[in-house]
């Protein structure tokens, strides 16, 4: 019955909003696969050395700070780059939980149940995915078209500051700070709004699966 349609769901927004934040967050986390070894302080050179061949795995320790917390929540676990387009974040403490991003959706595993959320092509998400692709493929031009990029430090200890140029993305994401040494990325810090930030430190034992 074409004529009998309901008003579109303004109601869905809140739920969807949360999921989008969730997805954005996860995609940003995958950035840490991006620069395992940066030997030059030229962005192009840093990116040239960033190609990651799946499968790969890296352990992490993450601090999450926000205004509801009196102390940061500490998470540990590992990240997996299973194949091109398939990424997985597994939390081992303080609870078990896993997120798999694959084929346009996020699969959340919690307490033995899974829930799938579609990854639709929202503009901000596209931008961020584009940025990841840019880093994985060493395309410094594309990265610069989305972020203001600042590279500091030495080859043994460098830091890459990424600030979104789009005002829309900047409303939620203040910036990213990726740090590394001669061998790999050592940490990634994500700054959101309202004093909310996450720091993920990568553990050195990254070994092929």
């Amino acid at each position: 019955m074409r004529d009998l349609r309901t008003t579109p769901p303004r109601l869905a927004m809140t739920a969807e909003h949360v999921y989008r934040l969730v997805r954005t967050q996860f995609v940003l986390a995958t950035l840490l696969f991006a620069a395992p070894s940066a030997w030059s302080l030229e962005l192009g050179a840093v990116l040239d050395g960033t190609t990651v061949a799946p499968p790969a795995r890296v352990g992490f320790r993450e601090e999450r700070h926000n205004q509801m917390f009196k102390e940061p929540m500490i998470l540990t676990g590992y990240l997996e780059y299973l194949q091109a387009g398939t990424l997985r974040k597994v939390i081992e403490t303080p609870f078990d939980e896993a997120f798999l991003i694959e084929a346009g959706q996020v699969v959340i595993e919690r307490d033995g149940t899974t829930r799938k959320l579609p990854l639709r092509k929202s503009k901000s998400l596209q931008t961020i995915l584009g940025a990841i692709e840019a880093i994985l493929s060493g395309d410094s031009e594309q990265l610069k078209s989305v972020f203001d990029v600042e590279l500091d430090g030495s080859r043994e200890s460098w830091s890459l500051q990424l600030t979104p140029t789009s005002r829309r993305i900047a409303k939620r994401l203040a910036g990213l700070q990726v740090a590394g040494n001669g061998q790999s990325v050592t940490s990634i810090r994500i700054d959101l709004k309202n004093d909310e930030w996450h720091l993920m430190e990568l553990l050195r034992d990254d070994t092929p699966l």
């Binding site: 309901t6 967050q25 939980e97 939620r172």
Partner: protein, 763 residues
């Protein structure tokens, strides 16, 4: 016997007084509506009631669908966003959406924002709070952002999300809406009802103004569709067309009169019965109905078509005699014709839709008064003639009535119809009764399709005079449907009780909320050993305390909220009954229907699509039955009055052949038939009867010439006037015009060719 001048004056004053009275009635009573659903059938069953109500006032009816095209997507996206912002600020709109999630989307809409704790059963025990706090920590291991934090702080159980998800019929992706043709699409819900034409007109203007303010708007094009927009368009089209086509049709009519009678005075007089009929018909309709439809008002004049024939017959016969003598001669035939026409139109008045009832009543009343004016007033106004001196009793001849022509036409037409029509003679789409052009409806569908809206085909229907009883039954249905979902009988559902619980449930949930200090103590305990600050959930505690004493949520508390549309689509008030509509998503229909019948909660699974086809079939069958009965009455009447079986047979055959040929013509031109064609065919029946009655009269040669002339003038004027109507852009009028124009022509040709030769003499 010549009337004295004073008699003519007396009559005229009497008629003018009657006209003034009718004008007074109109001034006091006439109220015009442009309701698009006026030609939909009047309801017979609850299901049909629901169907019509959904179309008239359903959630979609207050939506304006806006399409912007003519530029690359990026450009259209900017225009779409700007339109959304401008219109959102306009109080005429409840909400304006373009598919994107607005930045303030963390705002929970009312009444959920206030009442969420009364919409679900919540366990406030310590263990339950601990589980919730733990689950929120897990959420925060993945998600982030102030929207999520605010949500968790006020609702650790995330009941709000659960409610929102259950009410949302589709998953909204957050992408801008684009139609298949590339147009950016927005949906603007107006505060005013779709039948409030002034407010809808304002809203459409607001959209146009907002569009004009978009940078480089001139390069873009705008389309606004939806029930409200179409009503506004219909009003504009009727205004434009009523003037243009009435002027054209009247001019054509006058031209024919001038050519045939060559007298300006007769021209003027011919309009007198028509004018009186128009006034009387309209006054009658405005007395019987609260509102007169724009279509009845604007085109009633043309619909009276057949009434123009009466003065024409009179004038033809009055060329050699005084008006009164001529009237005496044609009166028996005229009376019979009018009576038959009135019977046919009264049948229309009972055929099942308000629009048709108005047309039927209008025409029946108008035709009767036009006949009376022709009979009692017009002859007195005709120029006086010397009575014929050589008045030897004239020899009357009965025309030779030939059957073969009519029989051949009938057979050919039936064969043609059978050959043309595939898959049934009738168009059973409800949309075929809309006065909105097919292309506009298609544009609306294509734009709407961009905004993913759910299929509402299957509904679980429950009703009760008591809202509370109904809501409790709906809550039972919620529980049973949840089980049915687990068994795979359906995918999901939306019911009114998911947002508007029964008073009983609201009370129970209020009672379950612990006292402020108890809740605070439990919360503090639940937060021990977590990273959360002690005051992290203070917003929740305060909200819970407020919810304990909230006045119960009722339908009137939802009227001014963004969820009003949602409520309207799931809770209706029909007469004294409250009706709950539970939309069932992707059911296995047969199995679910069987399961539902065993629930004993007074619920029925209804397939609205099947129901709509059934509604149309019932409507059309009802109309056909009424018309058939009317036709039988007319034939019986003819036989009774004329008393000649063969003549009655000839008239019946002639009219039947003309109707069949008309049907064949319009199926070739329009495809399937709608109820509107039926209406037009009724008018053709009236015209055909009129011609056949006059052409089968026994009369003198001189009279016969007058009759021929009169009938020709009638057929020519009707064909011309309705031919002009056939050019209308309103489908309803186009169908009427073409059917009647071709029908009048065919009826004349069939009747004339079947009755030309004079043969035997009677005294």
């Amino acid at each position: 016997m010549k009337p004295s001048l004073s008699t003519a004056w007396q009559r005229s004053i009497l008629w003018l007084a009657a006209a003034s009275l009718m004008i007074l009635v109109l001034a006091a009573r006439l109220e015009v509506s442009f309701d698009l659903s006026a030609f939909l059938p009047q309801q017979t069953t609850l299901t049909h009631d629901i169907l019509i109500e959904q179309i008239r006032k359903g959630p979609g009816s207050r939506l304006l669908v806006i399409g912007v095209s003519g530029a690359p997507q990026d450009r259209l996206a900017e225009a779409s966003e700007q339109l959304r912002q401008t219109l959102s600020a306009n109080p005429a709109f409840v909400s304006v959406l373009n598919g994107e999630l607005p930045d303030d989307s963390a705002t929970v809409p009312e009444p959920i924002n206030r009442y969420y704790l009364l919409m679900r059963d919540i366990d406030y025990s310590l263990a339950s709070l601990q589980r919730a706090v733990q689950a929120r920590l897990q959420d925060l291991a993945f998600g982030a952002g102030s929207a999520l934090l605010d949500l968790i702080a006020r609702d650790p159980f995330l009941v709000t999300l659960e409610i929102l998800e259950s009410l949302a019929p589709v998953d909204m992706g957050g992408d801008l809406w684009f139609a298949a043709d590339g147009s950016a699409v927005l949906l603007a819900e107006t505060r005013a009802a779709s039948i409030d034409i002034a407010a809808q007109s304002e809203a459409v203007r607001a959209v146009r103004n907002a569009f004009a303010a978009v940078p480089a708007a001139k390069a873009l094009s705008l389309d606004v569709t939806g029930v409200g927009a179409f009503s506004v368009e219909l009003q504009e089209i009727i205004r434009a067309e009523a003037t243009k086509r009435t002027v054209l049709a009247t001019s054509a009519l006058l031209l024919v009169l001038l050519v045939v009678f060559r007298s300006p005075r007769l021209l003027l007089l011919a309009t007198v019965p028509l004018g009186m009929g128009f006034l009387a018909g309209l006054a009658l309709v405005s007395l019987v109905f609260d509102q007169v439809h724009g279509i009845t008002l604007a085109f009633g004049f043309t619909l009276l078509g057949v009434a123009v024939d009466y003065p024409l017959h009179l004038f033809s016969h009055a060329q050699h005699d005084s008006g009164q003598v001529a009237m005496q001669r044609i009166w028996p035939t005229l009376r019979l014709g009018v009576l038959s026409t009135v019977i046919a139109y009264l049948a229309l008045a009972f055929s099942g839709s308000q629009g048709l009832a108005q047309l039927g009543l209008f025409t029946a009343g108008g035709v009767t008064v036009a006949m009376l004016a022709t009979r009692a007033w017009l002859p007195l106004l005709l120029p006086k003639r010397q009575a014929s001196r050589t008045l030897a009793p004239e020899v009357k001849h009965a025309p030779m009535l030939r059957y073969p022509a009519a029989v051949i036409v009938l057979l050919v037409a039936v064969v043609a119809v059978l050959g043309t029509v595939e898959g049934g003679l009738w168009d059973d789409e409800l949309s075929s009764l809309s006065p909105v052009a097919v292309e506009r409806l298609a544009a609306d569908r294509s734009l709407r399709a961009a905004a993913v809206t759910p299929d509402m085909r299957y509904q679980l229907v429950m009703h009760n005079t008591s809202l509370e009883t109904l809501l409790q039954a709906s809550e039972s249905a919620d529980r049973l449907l949840a089980e049915a979902v687990d068994e795979g009988l359906l995918e999901n559902w939306q019911s009114v009780s998911q947002m508007l619980p029964s008073l009983q449930s609201q009370q129970r949930r209020q009672d379950a909320i612990p006292a402020a200090e108890v809740l605070q103590r439990e919360l503090s305990e639940a937060l021990i050993g977590t990273p959360f600050r002690a005051d992290a959930f203070d917003t929740f505690a305060a909200g819970a305390n407020t919810a304990r004493t909230l006045p119960a949520l009722t339908p009137s508390g939802i009227v001014d909220t963004p969820l009003r549309s949602w409520l309207d689509s799931h809770l209706l008030q029909l007469g004294g009954e409250w009706v709950s509509l539970i939309s069932v998503v992707l059911p296995r229909p047969d199995e679910l229907a069987e399961r539902v019948s065993g629930w004993n909660i007074g619920a029925d699974l209804v397939d609205l699509q099947a129901s709509s086809v059934e509604l149309m079939r019932d409507y059309r069958n009802g109309a056909l039955r009424t018309i058939l009965v009317a036709s039988l009455i007319i034939i019986a009447l003819l036989w009774f009055v004329r008393g000649q079986f063969r003549q009655t047979l000839w008239i019946g055959l002639t009219v039947a052949a003309s109707l069949a040929a008309t049907i064949a013509t319009i199926t070739m031109l329009h495809g399937n038939l709608t109820v509107i064609h039926l209406v037009a065919l009724l008018l053709v029946l009236g015209l055909g009867l009129d011609y056949a009655l006059f052409l089968s009269r026994s009369e003198s040669l001189r009279e016969r010439r007058a009759t021929d002339k009169g009938v020709l003038a009638c057929a020519a004027s009707t064909t011309l006037a309705f031919g002009i109507l056939a050019g209308s852009s309103i489908p309803l009028l186009k169908f009427l015009g073409l059917t009647v124009a071709s029908g009048a022509l065919i009826s004349y040709l069939v009747a004339y060719s079947g009755s030309r030769l004079l043969r035997k003499t009677v005294s």
